[in-house]
């Protein structure tokens, strides 16, 4: 029976292109680190770039783009767990919006 693994698309050129994109994105993170912006702005920008990097690695290096069903399963389940950890406990908003700096 044919499985998704038997259908490999693209060659080493695509892998190298994604690798170069990842290097550029990592470089952008280092540039952001030296910008004169607040910590929260820096965090948002760096996390955005990290999510793009992670997405490229998942889709192309880990070949998740070749199996849509598995891709949605991994994404939805992982994101749900992470959001649950971030916001699913009673104290999760107090530390961000309430007592920002402990006395």
């Amino acid at each position: 029976m044919a499985t998704a693994d038997t259908h490999k698309t693209g060659g080493i050129g695509k892998d190298v292109a994604v690798y170069v994109c990842l290097l550029v994105l990592a470089g952008i993170q280092f540039v952001i680190a030296y910008q004169d912006i607040s910590t929260s702005q820096m965090f948002v920008r760096m996390l955005t770039v990290a999510i793009i990097e992670g997405g490229l690695a998942l889709l192309f290096f880990m070949h998740l783009s070749e199996n849509r069903g598995l891709m949605w399963f991994v994404l939805i389940f992982t994101v749900a767990v992470i959001l649950g950890m971030q916001y699913g406990w009673t104290d999760s908003f107090r530390l961000i919006d309430g007592v920002q700096w402990a006395k």
């Binding site: 030296y34 992982t78 007592v99 920002q100 700096w101």
Partner: protein, 211 residues
Amino acid sequence: MSQADLSIHGQVSRTGATEIMTAPTFSVPAKKMAMWLFIIADSATFAGCLVAYGFLRNATPDWPRPFHSITNVATMTLILLTSSLTMLIGIRSAQRDDKAGAFRWVMITAVLGVLFAVLHIREWMGMISEGATLFHNPWGTPSFGAAFFSITGLHLLHVTGGVIALIAVGVRYQGGRYKVDDLEITGLYWHFVDLVWMFVVPLVYLLNLSH
């Protein structure tokens, strides 16, 4: 149908004289699905550590910014990203039945992993010599030391395990005991380790740079 066939092609159920073949979940072999489930679980572990670190940092007024130079972390990032590429090259060689080439590139990946670990330990020794440990930090709250060493230590543990797996699977693949699928599954784990580093670097290192 052999057990190997069942693991690749799915389960066979017998209804009377009829054999019904059911497709494996998401058309992915069982071994690969197991690795994906492990990756999802391990992502939750690292996400928990990083989220806890985020809350801790946000709630601590004297959080230090002790990193003066980005050279070491940039070098480590370059090494780990390159190791993902060499792993991909090794897997593509294996898919072309080039066993020697596949073994060579998998070993290069393992060497890059060792190099990453050496640089990481060297950085740790530098911080320990400055007085930062799991329970103590000369620049501010002791929580910094605990957060830094536990998160980076957990990642280093994964890198070390990955290097051992790469060597073991590479050697057994070359000996004919393992197949291309096994190399691909090991490659999945190695790319995951790289993916986690993409989040550790900005959150743990770059946000704590001293300007």
